[in-house]
């Protein structure tokens, strides 16, 4: 077990090393990406350019620059943005994380509850028009890009019908902290939650229905029915429990990549200052330190989530031990 854990740790470090080298190399291989002129400012003289290049260490060999950046990112943690010189990227990412967690946590609660309900109802009534209708709705949810749905939600709630009784409670876009104003936190996030959840409700509902339907022919289901258990108990107690294995492992990965910054488009559309929006800004400005910090943060989450999913597999399925 210890060896397995150490092995996993080694793999994680290797993945992080690979990703960071790749990000660094791609950045410096991009024509025009040299940050010196952007730091020095418009029409900077050759002397000013040289001074800035020296001050930021851009005149050193690339491997040295890479090691200095990694040292500042992971050891001293005082790496500053190239665009906003007073912005330390590590605290910035850590401050953005609770926003992303609020968004993704709320959306996850909605999508789990809704998809379990939809998947179970559709499986129970398989073949009926309710089943077909729900699965059709799921498909519609999957087909709508989140940024489009978000913009439409904004158009309706912030612009066209903002002053109607239905949406006059909707606050302006942005974020307030849960600790400062719990009701404001909820009001700011409820629409982004629903928008982000729609896609996942569709996917998870369909996956769960398929797994449930497949499990109906399994021996243990037949046994349960033969024991004289009610249909609903067979479905909810026996069927749903085993069908949740795929659901749970899928959820682990999706949740991790969203917390790691995958909710970028939702955060940008709703003006939520989370990790995704930070990533978006870093890419827009080609701000290497911030790109590096957000990518590393995201990679750590995804790698960790993979490890957790593997562990859950070990617990759920004895054959994988």
């Amino acid at each position: 077990m210890l060896m397995a854990l150490l092995g996993r740790l080694g793999q994680t470090l290797l993945v992080l090393l690979g990703i960071s080298v790749l990000v660094f190399a791609v950045f410096f291989a991009t024509p025009g990406a040299d940050p010196t002129a952007r730091i020095a400012g418009r029409n900077a003289s050759p002397e000013t350019m040289a001074a800035v290049r020296h001050e930021y260490g851009f005149d050193r060999p690339l491997p040295v620059q890479y090691l200095r950046m990694m040292d500042k990112l992971f050891v001293t943690r005082d790496l500053s943005s190239f665009v906003d010189h007073g912005q330390k990227v590590v605290p910035e990412v850590l401050r953005a994380a609770p926003v992303t967690l609020s968004l993704v946590g709320g959306a996850a609660a909605i999508w789990v509850a809704a998809s379990v309900t939809i998947g179970t109802i559709a499986a129970a009534m398989r073949g009926s028009w309710i089943d077909r209708g729900l699965m059709m709705l799921g498909l519609v949810g999957i087909s709508m890009p989140v940024f489009w749905l978000g913009e439409v939600a904004n158009l309706v709630t912030q612009s066209r019908y903002h002053h109607s009784w239905l949406f006059s409670w909707v606050p302006g876009l942005g974020y307030v902290s849960l600790w400062r104003d719990p009701s404001g936190w909820f009001a700011h996030l409820v629409i982004p939650w629903i928008v982000l959840a729609v896609l996942f409700i569709g996917i998870y509902g369909r996956v769960l229905r398929a797994d449930l339907v497949a499990s109906f022919d399994e021996d243990f289901m037949r046994t349960a029915r033969a024991k004289g258990l009610s249909d609903s108990r067979v479905l909810l107690h026996h069927g749903l429990r085993t069908s949740m294995i795929t659901f749970v492992s899928l959820f682990g990965l999706d949740f991790a990549q969203l917390v790691g910054g995958g909710a970028l488009l939702t955060e940008v559309v709703f003006g939520l200052p989370g990790v995704g929006r930070l990533t978006y800004q870093a890419l827009n400005n080609l701000d290497l330190p911030l790109i590096m910090a957000t990518v590393m943060y995201s990679a750590v989450f995804v790698v960790l989530a993979n490890a957790v999913v593997d562990l859950v597999y070990l617990l759920l399925d004895p054959r994988t031990r």
Binding site: R42, P46, E47, M49, A51, Q158, G172, G271
Partner: protein, 554 residues
């Protein structure tokens, strides 16, 4: 879109004719709320070069001089600010002696001294201000400071604490010296301000407001400077609102909606094109259109084929459809057609256009009317460059990509095998400046730092601003001729004694550039400000747009 444009045109005309409302009644108090997409970089006033931050800093800091805060043409000119009067140049324009006004305090309560002024000018070099090698390079000792910033003593700036005077010695006469002192990088900060980029920690200033907090990712807050008193209302008037709250994080579409809903009082970013119709129709009295000294232009590399050929460059100038460029930018309300290198409203601008249908260098017209494709095709054929491959580099924003596609069609129509290469907006301007990237032709814009023609002529076509192989080389065309240098130098030196003669020389430089065509001016853009219903007494200056100290909120 045509109806939206019409609305904006009518709106612009109406606003231009309406005199500004007089400030009456007691409108002090309240919080001005502003929204922007992203932060504005470092808070250090001697380093930051973004208009978003500069617009805020003009109500926080002062220099020895300041651009007048009276709206319109008056705001082009420097007036005395921390100095009690504008000095007469001495020694043929090489020496200026300023007397420092008494009784002014920084927002931390300390009095402004001669030492603060002298230290601030040394700090320009110690922090490597972007303009240290251009605007302030003419001060005696500046060249040593540029080479060794740490030990910069700058003997060209001498303070006399007893007499409260600061004396500047220049290496050569400079007709724009008072403008350069009014530029934000020359703001006066306390002498003990650290000699490095301040990042997010503000330095105390002397204006009516002070920074309370700044977070380049979330927002900034300003409140009143308790030690401020009005000493010259034209240089630094007292403010109406008690507090300014600037919030970052919404995209431009959401910013417009938030201002329409009254959640913010104005937005920093440009109103997106698709909202012009809506704001023109439904929020007419909340829209203000201001002229800006800014050009969109094509820079043609005079050192690379095909544009190392004069006829090829002239062909582009004849063929380009400037009206289409205006339409892409939002129509007549949002931009005016430009055919010259010096924008309208600046000294030296004399209406002149040789590249319109039926016109040429010998028979110029005053205003551009239509492209002349036939003549352009003929010039390309005569140049022998027909069929060559040309790549146009544009920033990857919607407006510029639309312009780029039109320009690509134009280049094809006159006989080139043309491509468009959109590049990330954040790096496009640095990319096209570097001659190593071998950019043949590019679309870009340029804004004035102060209202002088040199900002467009010397900055973009002077030999001193062409640095081969560097990302910082604003002379994108790589144009450098002794004839133009001579006229520019004469304009600079003669403007001091005889401004009219100087203006005439700048106009001559403009015509010389037109004839040689290292670029193709396209449009002069305007700033469209959308404000909330409760915002009143809208006041704007030509260089810094809306003046936050002069608007009030009800």
């Amino acid at each position: 879109m045509p109806s939206a444009m019409r609305v904006l045109v009518v709106l612009g005309a109406l606003l231009a004719t309406c005199p500004a409302l007089a400030a009456n009644g007691d409108h002090r108090g309240g919080t001005l709320r502003i929204t922007a997409d992203a932060g504005a970089g470092t808070i250090d006033p001697q380093i930051n070069y973004f208009s978003e931050m500069i617009q805020v800093q003009v109500v926080v800091y002062d220099g020895l001089t300041a651009f007048s805060k009276h709206p319109g043409e008056a705001s082009n000119h420097p007036v005395a600010d921390l100095a009690d009067a504008l000095p007469e140049p001495q020694d043929g324009g090489r020496t200026y002696v300023f007397h420092l006004r008494d009784g002014i305090r920084f927002s931390d309560g300390r009095a402004v001294t001669v030492d603060d002024v002298v230290a601030s000018f040394r700090r320009i070099f110690k922090v490597h201000a972007p303009s240290s090698g251009s605007f302030y390079a003419g001060i005696v000792g500046a060249s040593d400071c540029l080479k060794d910033a740490e030990h910069c003593t700058l003997p060209g700036v001498q303070g006399d604490a007893a007499a409260r005077t600061v004396t500047f010695h220049l290496t050569a006469p400079d007709a724009e010296f008072l403008d350069k002192l009014a530029f934000p990088h020359a703001y006066v900060l306390p002498a003990d301000t650290p000699p490095h980029d301040l990042g997010n920690d503000p330095a105390p200033g002397t204006g009516p407001y002070r920074f309370v907090s700044y977070d380049s990712n979330r927002g900034m807050v300003l409140d009143r400077n308790p030690f401020f008193h009005e000493w010259n209302a034209e240089a630094q008037p007292d403010g109406y609102v008690d507090r300014i709250e600037y919030s970052f994080g919404l995209d431009d579409e959401a910013e417009v909606t938030a201002v329409e809903n009254g959640q913010f009082d104005t937005l920093y970013d440009n109103v997106p094109l698709d909202r012009y119709g809506e704001i023109g129709d439904r929020y007419t009295d909340q829209v203000h259109i201001e002229d800006v000294f800014a050009l969109y232009y094509l820079a043609m590399n005079v050192n690379l084929p095909p544009f190392n050929n004069l006829k090829a460059r002239q062909a582009v100038n004849y063929a380009v459809n400037r009206r289409a460029m205006q339409t892409f930018y939002g129509g007549e309300g949002a931009a005016s057609i430009a055919c010259q290198y010096i924008p309208a409203g600046l000294p030296g601008h004399v209406p002149y256009c040789p590249y319109s249908r039926g016109a040429d260098n010998a028979h110029p017209v005053e205003h551009w009317a239509a492209p002349d494709l036939a003549r352009a095709r003929q010039l390309v054929a005569e140049s022998g460059t027909e069929g060559q491959h040309v790549t146009l580099v544009v920033p990857n924003r919607a407006v510029e990509i639309a312009m780029g596609t039109n320009l690509q069609n134009m280049l094809r129509a006159i006989g080139y095998d043309a491509d468009v290469k959109p590049i990330a907006f954040a790096i496009q301007f640095n990319y096209i400046q570097n001659s190593s990237n071998k950019v043949q032709i590019s679309l870009t814009d340029w804004f004035a730092d102060f209202a002088r023609p040199s900002n467009f002529v010397s900055a973009l076509y002077g030999c001193g601003n062409f640095h081969p192989g560097s990302d910082s080389s604003p002379n994108v065309s790589g144009y450098c001729t002794p004839a133009l240098e001579d006229v520019m130098n004469r304009a600079m030196s003669e403007s001091l004694a005889d401004p009219a003669r100087g203006d005439a020389l700048w106009a001559q430089a403009d015509r010389m550039l037109s004839a040689d065509a290292p670029g193709a001016p396209l449009i002069q853009i305007k700033k469209i400000d959308l404000v909330s219903k409760r915002l009143g007494h809208y006041t704007a200056t030509n260089l810094y747009h809306m003046l936050f100290s002069q608007v009030w909120v009800r």
